[in-house]
Amino acid sequence: MSYRPSRVTRLDSMSDHTATTAGQTRTPNETQWDLWEVFTQEGEGAPHEHAGSVHATTAEHAMQNARDVYARRGKVVSLWVVPTESIVASAPGDAGPLFDPGNDKAYRHPQFYKVPRGVRGL
């Protein structure tokens, strides 16, 4: 159940110039079941949020383990389980090019704009 982000399919850094072929190097481990990521939703319309991961052999098995580990306490109305290897992750080295927030351009952020009075449900 330990969360091991290394099991996701991680793209190589752009600086390697091999970007699109990455991540297929997972070594099969005979003594471990596959890892699944678990997402829980706490109310209708709320987002499914990452809760953690479980080991399991099949989707049904993963769903049951997710229920027992993450959904028994607290309010959960929906569960997603996703094979960890199906998740494609960015490379830590690309944080600069991908996530530089551009704080110098305030108009890029929604908070820059004032909502007119009388507008509801925004």
């Binding site: 159940m1 079941w33 479980v54 080991h55 399991a56 098995h61 049951q64 383990n65 229920r67 027992d68």
Partner: protein, 291 residues
């Protein structure tokens, strides 16, 4: 009491005219009615009926709790503990109700911790030692398949409290069954070793499942008053579920034969006493302690 001389009834009075046909060796065939006069019995049939429901859950819940920290994988460790807590919660509610029906001021704790084995009314199936994971899984599956059918009917009990407990328990039991059935399939249709262990577990436990469907005067009275349900009425539905899952799991359903019985009147295997010694030791060492 002499186990070697079953004809003597092992401390259990029998009147053939009243109890119906018995097989050789003094054991009882399906449909026969064992006497309810064994020691520890109560003269209140409604109390007896609810205690039977409670004790199945209390004993099985405690057995499952013994896996805590020992299950094959962490996820299953948590799953078994969840099921144990569900069952013990149901037992607690049922024993509280039983205490109210009895009207002698006994609480759920008093009934759980201060009765001896001979006063317990669970079927023998649930008191058997956990064995390997296959034994625990198959035992749970045989019980869950029965439990769902029982609770589906018990929600219509004439006793509103019992109906309410059943409604809550039914949701839990449906998940228990989904979980244990899936594990029976995975073990049976898994590796050669898991298949062999699962088949051995089925062969060992099958006779004990027979007791789940036996009825006596206590049950008949509970059915008549609307308090309880007739377990014999859903044996074929149970078989249908069990046979389907065993088939999916590539396991063979054993033939019906001799079925141990007596748990409902306080006759238990040697294993229950040891389990209770463990389960009750704290409460008996510190009576009335709260934590």
């Amino acid at each position: 009491m002499s186990i070697g001389n079953r004809q003597s009834g092992v401390g259990h009075r029998e009147d053939p005219a009243e109890t119906g046909p018995a097989t050789r060796d003094g054991e009882w065939v399906a449909g026969a009615r064992p006497s309810t006069a064994t020691s520890g019995g109560s003269d209140n049939p409604a109390f007896e009926y609810v205690v039977r429901l409670a004790d199945d859950r209390l004993v099985l819940g405690h057995r499952l709790s013994e896996w805590c920290g020992h299950a094959p994988i962490l996820e299953e460790d948590i799953a078994l503990a969840n099921t144990a807590l569900d069952l013990i919660g149901q037992a607690s509610a049922l024993l509280k109700l039983a205490g109210e029906i009895e009207g002698k001021g006994r609480t759920d704790d008093a009934l759980a911790y201060f009765r001896d084995a001979i006063e317990f009314r669970n079927v023998q199936l649930v008191e058997l030692p956990n064995g390997d994971f296959a034994v625990t899984t198959v035992r749970q599956f045989l019980f869950d398949a029965w439990d769902v059918l029982l609770l589906e009917r018990l929600v219509s009990s004439s006793n509103a409290t019992l109906a309410g407990i059943a409604a809550k328990a039914l949701k839990e039991a449906r998940y228990h069954l989904r979980h244990s059935a899936e594990w029976v399939r995975m073990l049976g249709d898994g590796t050669a070793e898991s298949h062999d262990r699962a088949q051995r577990a089925v062969d060992t436990l099958w006779p004990y499942a027979g007791e789940l469907f036996l009825t006596d005067a206590i049950d008949e009275q509970a059915v008549k008053s609307g308090l309880g349900v007739d377990v014999a009425s859903f044996r074929s539905a149970w078989l249908e579920t069990v046979e389907r899952v065993l088939r999916d799991a590539t396991l063979t359903r054993p033939a019906d034969g001799f079925a141990p019985r007596g748990g409902r009147i306080g006759r238990h295997t040697e294993h229950l006493g040891r389990m209770l010694a463990d389960m009750q030791s704290l409460a008996r060492a510190h009576p009335g302690a709260a934590w």
